[in-house]
Symmetry: C2
Subunit: 358 residues, 2 copies
C-alpha cells in the first residue's frame, strides 16, 4: 500500500489510464489549480534556471515575512514542509515525542530516523477526532521532549481553535517541551490565520511552526514549505546543518508570486468552502458513509457497510477515481478513507460512482 495519496503514476501504469483522465481525490490539492500568474512568471523567467538559487533565499523570505507579518530572521524555507520535518527531527533528536494521532505519517518516519521514542496521543472517533485538551495536558506531564500537532489535522480534517493551541503551547513551554505545529492546511480554514496565528504564537520560543505552499497553492510538483521559529539558537543550528539550494528557483519564484496574489487566495477559499459544504452534505446523505466534519480541503469518511477501504479504492480505481485508503494511519482501520474536496464536476463524478455502489 502507498504511504501517501497522490500516486497517480502507479494507477496510470496498472490500469493504463492517462494522468489527465484520472480524478485524484487522494491528494489534498486546491481544486482551483495552478495560478495563471505563476504560469506567466515561469514562462517569463525561464532563464533563472541557469543560476544557482540564492543560498540565503532573501527575497523569498521577505515575501513570506510580509505575508505572515514577521521578520525574515524567524523564517526558514524548505523543499516542501517534508524537508523541514526531517531536518527538525534530525537536529533536535528528541529522546521522546508525543504525536497527536491519527496524523501525517512523515512525523513518525522522521522521528524514527532520529532515534526518538514515539508515543501517540489518541484522537477519538467519538469526539470527531478533536483532542481532549485537559487529557492531553495530563499526558504531557509525563515529560515528552516534543509534542507534534497538525492543525487542521491530516487525515481527520479536524481543527483546534488557536486559543486552545496556545494553551497547549504555553503549557509545554513551562515544562521545557517543544511543539512541532504543522499548519500546512491552515489557509483552507481561514487565510487570516496565516498571519494572526503567528502573532499569537510568536512569543513562544518552543514552537516550530510549519507551513506549506504545496496544498493551498496547488504546487505539489514544485516543492515549497517554510518554518517559523523565534528560537534564534535553534535557527542557527538549522542554518548550519541544512544542505545548500534545496529550494529550486521556480519554487522561490512561486513563493514571491503566490503569497501576494489576493485574488487567487480569496477565489480558492470561496471555491473550497462551497464545494466542501456540498460534498460533506451529499456524503452525509449516503447511508453507508459517515463523513467527519471537515475544516481543511479534505474529509475523513467511515464506511458503514461490508466493504473495506481497499475494496472501495479498488472499485473506484477502475473508473479512474483515485482515493486515499486511510487504513494505514495510526488508530484507523480498513473502514476509513479520505476524500479531497475538488471542483463540482469531479465531486459529482465521485458521488455518482458512490451511488452505484450502495
Amino acid at each position: 500500500m502507498d504511504a501517501h495519496g497522490g500516486n497517480i503514476y502507479k494507477l496510470e501504469k496498472e490500469f493504463n489510464i492517462s494522468k489527465e483522465d484520472i480524478v485524484d481525490f487522494s491528494s489534498n490539492i486546491n481544486p482551483l489549480g495552478i495560478s495563471e500568474k505563476l504560469k506567466n512568471e515561469i514562462i517569463n523567467n525561464m532563464d533563472i534556471l541557469q543560476y544557482y538559487p540564492d543560498p540565503e533565499y532573501n527575497d523569498l523570505k521577505s515575501a513570506i515575512a510580509r505575508y505572515i507579518g514577521d521578520d525574515t530572521d524567524h523564517i526558514f524555507v524548505g523543499n516542501g514542509a517534508v524537508e523541514l520535518i526531517f531536518l527538525y527531527a534530525r537536529i533536535l533528536k528528541p529522546e521522546t515525542a508525543l504525536i497527536l494521532s491519527p496524523g501525517f505519517i512523515e512525523y513518525s518516519l522522521a522521528l524514527n530516523h532520529a532515534g526518538t521514542k514515539i508515543a501517540h496521543y489518541r484522537l477519538n472517533e467519538k469526539d470527531n477526532f478533536y483532542p481532549d485538551i485537559q487529557g492531553l495536558k495530563k499526558e504531557m506531564e509525563k515529560g515528552y521532549e516534543l509534542i507534534v500537532i497538525c492543525n487542521p489535522n491530516n487525515p481527520t480534517s479536524m481543527f483546534i481553535e488557536p486559543e486552545a493551541v496556545l494553551e497547549i503551547i504555553s503549557f509545554a513551554d513551562k515544562r521545557n517541551q517543544r511543539v512541532l505545529l504543522d499548519e500546512s492546511f491552515i489557509e483552507f480554514v481561514d487565510p487570516a490565520y496565516a498571519s494572526s496565528n503567528i502573532s499569537l504564537f510568536k512569543k513562544y520560543r518552543n514552537v516550530f511552526l510549519l507551513r506549506s505552499l504545496t496544498k493551498f497553492f496547488a504546487i505539489p510538483g514544485l516543492r515549497l514549505g517554510y518554518a517559523v521559529s523565534h528560537d534564534s539558537g535553534f535557527m542557527k543550528s538549522l542554518k548550519k546543518y541544512r544542505e545548500p539550494w534545496t529550494v529550486n528557483q521556480f519554487a522561490d519564484l512561486a513563493g514571491r508570486t503566490l503569497l501576494k496574489d489576493k485574488d487567487y487566495i480569496s477565489n480558492s477559499v470561496e471555491l473550497v468552502s462551497k464545494e466542501k459544504a456540498f460534498l460533506y452534505s451529499a456524503l452525509s446523505a449516503v447511508e453507508w458513509l459517515k463523513p467527519f466534519e471537515p475544516f481543511a480541503n479534505f474529509m475523513l469518511v467511515k464506511l458503514q457497510a461490508d466493504l473495506t477501504s481497499a475494496d472501495l479504492k479498488g472499485i473506484l480505481q477502475k473508473q479512474g477515481i483515485l482515493i486515499r485508503d486511510a487504513s494505514n494511519f495510526k488508530f484507523l482501520n480498513n473502514k476509513f478513507v479520505r476524500f479531497a474536496v475538488k471542483n463540482r464536476k469531479c465531486n459529482e463524478k465521485l458521488l455518482n460512482a458512490l451511488s452505484n455502489i450502495g
Copy 2:
C-alpha cells in the same frame, strides 16, 4: 567569504548591478545555457506542477538508465548531487574518510555532520594537482573506511584517466574500503565517459558514483543529480532513509528531456572545448597568471603578482565580473582563483579586464 561560487544575489545587492549585467565566472555552468527543448517542454507541461512527483521517479530513472547504459535498480535520483552527498554520508556514517584535496567543500561538511574523522590526501601544485597513485594507495593502506574522489576535480580541473580510477577502486575493494566518486563534470571531458565509465566500474559494489545535470545542462536552478551503485543492500538503505519528493516535477521533466538531446550535448562539447583552449592559451600568455591545464569547464589560476585572490575578486566585481576566490579550498591560499569557461564575448571581457590590471 562565500563557501561557493555563484552568489550573484550578494553582488546584485552590494553593487546595485542587475543579474543580467553580471558576468559570472564563479559558477561552473555550461555557457550554452538552457536547452530550448527544455524550455518548450516546461511551457507545454506546466500542469504537472499540480501533481506530486512520482515517488519512485520511474520514468526519470529509465531515462538515466538509457543514457548511462545501466539498470534502473542501480540508479538513485536527488535534489542535485549535493542531496546525495549528504544522504550518503548520513547513512554510511564512516568512521574515517580520506578526501583528495583541494576538493569540493560539501564532502567535508557532509562527513563532519556524520561524525566522520576526515583526512586529506594532498594533491600537489608541482604535479598540476594530479595524484600520485602509488602514494595514494600507500595512504589508503592505513585503512580509511571511505575514499572521496572528484573526477574531473573541482577546483583544480585535473582529470584522472578511468584506468587509474579503476586501479584505486579495485585497490579499495580488496580492503573493504568504499569510494565516493563524484563525476559531476565528466561530460565536459568527454560525453562518452557518461556510459563507458559505468561499464568499467559497475562490477565494484564499493563505488558510489555521483553525477549531476546542473553543470553540463546549465540547470543549477532546477536541481537534479543521480547516483549509481551496484550495492543492493546500500540502495535499500538509501530508499528507506530518503525524504519523499525531493526532486521536483520540472527537474524530473528535465532529466527525461535533456539526456536524449544529442545536439545539445555535442554543441556543448564543441563550444566548451574551443573556449577552454582559447581562454587557457590567453591566460597562459598573461605574465602574472598561471593557469593549470583544465579538463572540465573551468580552470584554477595562480596569481603570480602582489595582489591576492580577494583583491582580484574585488577589482573585477566592480566591473560586474564575478570570479571564485579559491583561497578557502584546503591546501590552496590567497593566490588562487577559479574561472569558469564562458562564451567568447564573456571570455574576452574577462581577458580585457585582466589586461588592465597587469
